[in-house]
Symmetry: C2
Subunit: 391 residues, 2 copies
């Protein structure tokens, strides 16, 4: 029986505080602006991936949460090709190495969070895929070098190769060689950032979006001003706020950038709306929480969907997550280890319509915080015979 | 018994297709950008105002829909002062004229539409007030000259002094002397523009907006690009579209400008949201209608509120208003003369969530079209004894 080669990793979700929106090169996933994210803890949200290869495999395959995925798409193919190329170089320099670069790949992946939650899982997914294959191939590439490859799978995946606070520098080279992720600060630099995710109920379904960031690039007349002028300024200020651990500055930049990103979506023709009435209710309650505190202790941000991610500091847990627990305590999610520890705090001067809007429109909450980058694990999702492990 | 002097007028509502948002001088209501509107028919929406003066009146007063209004505010005072000043000049040049400029004013006003509908009534209100007093004083000032005064009452009121298609040129003088309304084209030039207004139910109340255009000016980093670059380009294109009676161009400019205006509101810090899920549903249905027609036959626009105003041409009434009647036929408003004539048309490929959103969120419809400017009437709301007429 032929040998089965395996490597497994977990990789985190990241939620940007300076948003990626718009590609200057759609095939290479080269962005129109730099972006910056917080990596979230894998105990709450992670993808677990095993990469394996064997001369016995007949074709490349990818199983996600038990469902076969198409691997023929250009994004997955680009990752496979780049990683095989690096492996091939290694093999050429050391003839004793097994010729893994010529074998088919079997990838098995599982998320520890429901896909239905509408959380961007492609970032964690491609980061785990690239990291696991790189480990399988015993590549010496650094996370920044691997970020060039993960970016081609899914733009924001490049940021999930690091823990803590991560920037994706847009670069300027036509081949994308300098469009890479780097660590702004490790999780240990500012470990007490927490987040509560308010997952919008799919029952409260909004009107479908004619989606696509490239429509924004092509039609929004406000977009280029954001990409060229506003984001570069914010990137500098955000890195500085993180270095100084200045939460109020971090919060204001985060909220302004989310607002500005969704403004350019609304300015797209036809307009793209990701925020719904539930999202706007979350914004108002965050404003109420900050007004009651007399300073910015909570910061909302929204990706391309209605779920609010609200960042706060551990020391303000009661005043932020506790207030949400006060009126959303019946929702799913508080039973987690983090959720159970949150003390209920009665909110001051909350907008009644906003509170009712969240009660009606939030289906579950997820409590999490800043966390580490990909972690190599020995828990393989492919067994020694090369079969996917049944779970 | 002393003589009672009276003059009465009706004045129209106008709905901008290039929006006014932001003041460069708040006390003079000088805008940061020019704007352009369509005057709507007074048979559907109008303010009826009688201005009267008499030596027997003890104080200035204003009665709106039977309720006494405060006249001490700087906006109303500015209008009174400017108009009295013009009357005073006339009196100086002709000693035989009665000294109306020294008498107190009694103004009585009525709207033919419910205030609760959330339609900007201040434009029609101040236009009627200024026009009625100018008639009372027998001023020779042109509508453009009077627009300088009405603008100080309510910015967009200056556009309600004309019928048809009206621009408000922002001007550059510090005293506002060149910030005036002018006729782009009379109603007769392009008489077949129609509009359906979808009044959003107050039961579907959104989260309150932290309002204020000056917050946008102060905090939106996208706003100045709109005001300085985008609006001037659109003003030129819109005037051209109106001159050529090119509805598709008119429609696209109207929708883009509404989108861009609401984008800068969303970019305000904290963000201002006027559109709710009902508004977004209206946008999707207009997109569906245009997709079915293969060209832009309907154009949505939203002022500072959730009500959609949808412009279309009389020849497309069925394909636009008829489609709305198809699923909103039970709502109030179709019983009007215009509404009764609209033939129901079954929409093609309508977004089901959007249709449901409008069924849930629209309380009434108003059918109207382009119309005339203020009209002098003999139906006085103040009787010969100087008393408000009971209605």
């Amino acid at each position: 029986m032929s040998e089965i080669y395996r490597a497994s990793t977990t990789a985190p979700v990241n939620i940007a505080v300076i948003k990626y929106w718009g590609k200057r090169d759609p095939s290479l996933n080269l962005p129109t602006n730099s972006s910056l994210s917080v990596t979230l803890s894998q105990s709450d949200l992670r993808t677990h991936t095993t990469a394996s290869c064997s001369p016995t495999y007949n074709s490349d395959s990818l199983l996600l949460n038990g469902s076969p995925q198409d691997t023929s798409g250009s994004r997955t193919q680009a990752c496979f090709r780049e990683l095989r190329s690096l492996r091939s170089e290694l093999e050429k320099s050391d003839a004793s190495l097994p010729k893994l670069s010529t074998q088919k790949l079997k990838i098995v992946s599982e998320n520890n969070f429901p896909t239905a939650a509408g959380l961007a899982s492609s970032a964690a997914g491609f980061a785990a895929l690239v990291r696991a294959i790189a480990d399988l191939y015993q590549l010496t590439a650094t996370p920044t070098e691997l970020s060039r490859i993960a970016r081609q799978g899914s733009g924001s995946a490049c940021r999930s190769l690091f823990g803590g606070y991560v920037s994706w520098e847009m670069g300027s080279a036509a081949d994308g060689s300098d469009s890479l992720a780097t660590e702004v600060a490790p999780s240990s630099h500012w470990p007490n950032i927490r987040a509560i995710i308010l997952v919008a109920s799919s029952a409260k379904k909004g009107v479908s979006s004619t989606s696509g960031m490239q429509q924004t690039v092509a039609t929004s007349e406000l977009f280029s001003h954001r990409a060229k002028v506003l984001v570069p300024e914010r990137m500098t200020k955000m890195k500085d706020a993180i270095k100084r651990k200045d939460f109020a500055a971090f919060a204001e930049l985060t909220m302004r950038d989310s607002n500005g990103f969704h403004a350019t979506c609304a300015d797209t023709y036809p307009p793209i709306f990701y925020l719904n009435d539930t999202s706007r209710a979350a914004i108002r309650v965050v404003e109420n929480i900050n007004a009651a505190a007399g300073r910015s202790i909570a910061a909302y941000t929204f990706d391309a969907g209605p779920n609010a991610v609200v960042y706060y500091l551990a020391e303000d847990e009661g005043a932020v997550a506790g207030v949400f627990k006060g009126f959303l305590g019946e929702k799913e999610g508080w039973g987690s280890e983090r959720g159970g520890k949150v003390k209920v705090v009665e909110g001051k001067d909350l907008d009644e319509n906003a509170v009712q809007g969240l009660k009606d429109g939030v289906s579950r909450v997820i409590l999490t915080g800043v966390g580490e980058g990909p972690i190599s694990v020995q828990d393989h999702l492919v067994d020694e015979k090369g079969e996917a492990v049944a779970r």
